[in-house]
Symmetry: C2
Subunit: 110 residues, 2 copies
Amino acid sequence: MLDRELKKGSAELLILSLVEARPRHGYEISKLIEARSDGVLRFNVASLYPLLYRLEKRGWIEGRWVEKAGQRRRRYYKLTKEGRKVLASQRSTWQSFVAAINRITEAENA
Amino acid sequence: MLDRELKKGSAELLILSLVEARPRHGYEISKLIEARSDGVLRFNVASLYPLLYRLEKRGWIEGRWVEKAGQRRRRYYKLTKEGRKVLASQRSTWQSFVAAINRITEAENA
DNA sequence: GAATAATATATCGCTATGCAACATAAAAAT
DNA sequence: ATTTTTATGTTGCATAGCGATATATTATTC
């Protein structure tokens, strides 16, 4: 399945991008991805949470618990300095990747 | 690794695209991908050959051995009718996928 | 003439990871 | 009262990429 496999590699880029402007919690991230992609991309929690832990373990994002009255506890993740560098690098990789795929997959006249 | 994971999902699309215009053999496909992507994409044989077998098993491509004097035997794969449909569908999926990712990962002003 | 590189196909075993299913729990809506 | 939405989490299975290894023919280099 093209869809499923493709999603794998883009997962990190998506998450890092979404916590770039401000901290967000897991559930929020999953809903944002679904909404902004018009349902094209959907994240399973069994993928999302472990991925957040991985990114945190690598020092790219940093989570902290926030508890407010009248709300369930949430873990907000913010982009670290290191994560910002990684994000820039992954954005660049993504672009050259897409360009390369397009070059090859566009109907050829050879 | 963004690179590695991304490649997974795009692998089928790449192969199907390359055998669209005319039949090609495995080694040729791997060299073409490397060349046309300027080295951005590289296929390990341990990924490529099993993938060719999978695509053939699904009836999307069809291989046949060709032996010529002064050449090693080669297995040429051609796109089947069914494969052509799948390719069209995967191209479309790829485009909406890229569009969705771009929408989410482009620097946000929120 | 021998050694090396390029061509060409193939497999084993490890690892990474996405996801279905399951689990918990609080707040909001019906 | 019951259901839905919000919110986080885990177990275990299946898939698939890739490093390493293997085989064999043809072309090149020394």
